[in-house]
């Protein structure tokens, strides 16, 4: 079945440094979603990208959808301790058309 591969699995940064997580698929995606899960919490939707080459920003977060709609990235500028958590990408396309999640990138920020 379709898979979305996400890298890196872990990322440790100093506060103020930038952070990027990448999501890749072997097949073309209709759209891609990004979620954030705070420690001890549940995943919360951040954004959905639909168009080829789309770029969206939410304050210090920049989301990109590749031109071929097979990859996406989430970039955080000048990380803060509040950015700590696991970031997941997700796309529809399982055997039943269900939502498939990447394995996530766990971000830790050292103050």
């Amino acid at each position: 079945g379709q898979q979305v591969m996400q890298i890196p699995q872990y990322q440790h940064v100093q506060e103020g440094e930038d952070f990027t997580t990448y999501c890749n698929s072997s097949t073309t995606l209709s759209n891609i979603q990004w979620y954030k899960q705070r420690p001890g919490g549940h995943p919360v939707f951040l954004i959905q990208l639909v168009k080829s080459g789309e770029v969206k920003k939410q304050k210090r977060l920049t989301f990109q959808f590749g031109e071929a709609k097979k990859n996406s990235s989430l970039h955080i500028t000048a990380t803060q301790t509040t950015d700590v958590g696991t970031y997941f990408c997700a796309a529809y396309g399982g055997s039943q058309g269900n939502l498939i999640f990447g394995k996530g990138t766990k971000l830790s920020v050292k103050p």
């Binding site: 269900n98 939502l99 394995k103």
Partner: protein
């Protein structure tokens, strides 16, 4: 507005005991429903997916089962828990259709099998 309820929040069960986790959704009709499991520090493993009453797709063969007796109710069960069933269980729903079909998660159940 739509809400999703999942309970209990935490659960400690002995090996070999049964399990029943319940998830209900309010404020929407015909949701797609999911059960995920998350081991400590790991990703989301899809366990079951349902597109309607009585329609369950199992993604990973295991010691668990799921049922959807009502449109907005999704139940995760086990007859005999194993130590390896410990984890963080998350229920989620997505709209049947819409421009943005994001997933809404319940608060999760942290299950420890001892």
């Amino acid at each position: 507005s739509q809400t999703i309820h999942q309970w209990p929040a935490t659960l400690v069960q002995p090996v070999g005991s049964p399990l029943s986790l319940e998830c209900t959704v309010e404020g929407t009709s015909n949701p797609n429903l999911y059960w995920y499991r998350q081991a400590a520090g790991r990703g989301l493993q899809l366990l079951f997916y349902s597109v309607g009453i009585g329609q369950i797709s199992s993604e990973v063969p295991q010691n668990l089962s799921a049922s959807r007796p009502q449109d907005r109710q999704f139940i995760l069960s086990s007859k005999k828990l194993l130590l390896s069933d410990s984890g963080f269980y998350l229920c989620a729903w997505t709209p049947l259709r819409g421009r943005v079909t994001e997933a809404f998660f319940g608060q999760g159940t942290r299950l420890t099998v001892v």
